[in-house]
Amino acid sequence: MISVKNLYKTFHTLAGDVEVLKGIDCQIAKGEKVVIVGPSGSGKSTFLRCMNLLEEPTKGEIWFDGQQINAPGVNIDAVRAGMGMVFQHFNLFPHLTVKKNITLAPVMLKKQSHEEAEENAMRLLKRIGLEEKAEAYPNQLSGGQKQRIAIVRSLAMNPKVMLFDEPTSALDPEMVGEVLAVMKELAEDGMTMAVVTHEMNFAKEVANRVLFVDDGQILEENEPEAFFSNPQNPRTQDFLSKILT
């Protein structure tokens, strides 16, 4: 479903060029749940953001659904409509109600009629138990509620894959569970998912595969059982020993 080939990304900053990704290769099959872990500054978020070209790769190829999406002439907006993304800071639209947040894109892109989109939004809100918040504004909600709504906002476009960029990192601890629960449910429904997270228990329970990214490269990848119980790379061992205390 997603195929990343020899991906490089260099940021040009005032302090000079920073090479964040140094040759990443990765395949994500349909229905697979891939969790990406690694220390901060390792490039894991940039890697994820390259998948829907929020960051433009310096070099390399990104393929989605049989199409190279970072080739010239590709309508990236149409591609992104099929890829949901959830952000660390939710990024709900504060000037719109919850329902309008969810219906905006499907209606504007003519994926659904206004009525269909509203119906769909209410169904999605019901699924996460927030239907009574349909007319509320984002700033009236808790972090956990915001993030759950951000997830269903992406789902409203019926994406083929969902990208999660540290979805629980900005939440108060007591709200992490409710967001992870929605994500687990999504995984059980067969959604293809790529998740950057520090929630190792989520990785253990949900992932088919865990990638360890450090210094712009995938240093180790394995199924979660083996990854956590028997890490091979010394830097993976070091990382896990620090995070699983």
Partner: protein, 234 residues
């Protein structure tokens, strides 16, 4: 003049021969110029702000965008670097000598206001978090849809007080319209003075009318801010 009673001065200044109508008609022109000039100013301001933001954000800058940005930069520099009265007179006596004075005033004040509104709106656009653009684009909206539906509404909300302030500044600034023979509120007071040789009461009334309008507009501003803040309430 000192031996005349206040009542007879006031009668002469405002009641006699319906002279208060100079002020009423003048106020009408002042409001007309202000409203339409602000309208033009906001339209120009949005266009310029979009060009300049686009120029700063895009990695591949087309020739057209470069030229547009250059023109905008020139416009901002000239308009903000020269006095309003001079611009008005150049417009009236040189560029557009044959138009209706009120039209010329509207366009002149509009062009002037546009330069200031542009910078206000640009700062408003840039004050919206980058994550908002990313969220819009990640949902499949294109750059224009994202700007129009997600960024601009928030930008306007952020700068609504500043734009309304521009409205108030503009209202007072139109008082120089008399330089090109337009009978605005200030000129109306001046005409009364030239007829009655009594300066103080007409000027005082003119000042009071400006003040009352500004106070009212400020109240309206508070209402607008309250409405806009609805989505901020917890």
């Amino acid at each position: 003049m000192g031996d005349r009673s206040l009542a007879s001065r006031l009668y002469d200044d405002f009641i006699n021969q319906n002279r208060y109508m100079y002020l009423v008609r003048g106020l009408g022109n002042t409001v007309l110029i202000t409203i339409f000039a602000l309208l033009i100013g906001v339209i120009i301001g949005v266009i310029i702000a979009l060009i300049r933001v686009n120029y700063h954000q895009s990695r591949k800058k087309s020739i057209l965008l470069r030229i547009a940005n250059l023109v905008c930069g020139l416009y901002l520099t000239v308009i903000r670097g020269t006095p309003m009265v001079v611009q008005l007179m150049i417009m009236y006596f040189v560029i557009w000598a044959s138009g209706a004075p009120i039209m010329i005033a509207i366009v002149s004040f509009g062009l002037n206001s546009g330069a200031y509104v542009a910078e206000v709106i640009r700062s408003g656009i840039q004050s919206v978090d980058r994550g908002q653009t990313e969220a819009g684009r990640s949902l499949g909206l294109n750059a224009h849809q994202t700007m129009l539906n997600i960024i601009l509404p928030q930008a306007f909300k952020n700068v609504a007080p500043a734009i309304f302030n521009e409205f108030i500044v503009l209202l007072k600034e139109t008082s120089v319209a008399g330089y090109v023979g337009i009978q605005d509120l200030t000129k109306g007071g001046d005409i009364i003075r030239s007829i009655t040789y009594d300066a103080f009461p007409p000027l005082l009334v003119v000042a009071a009318v400006y003040l009352v309008i500004v106070i009212l507009l400020t109240q309206v501003l508070h209402v607008i801010e309250g409405r806009l803040a609805k989505s901020d309430l917890r």
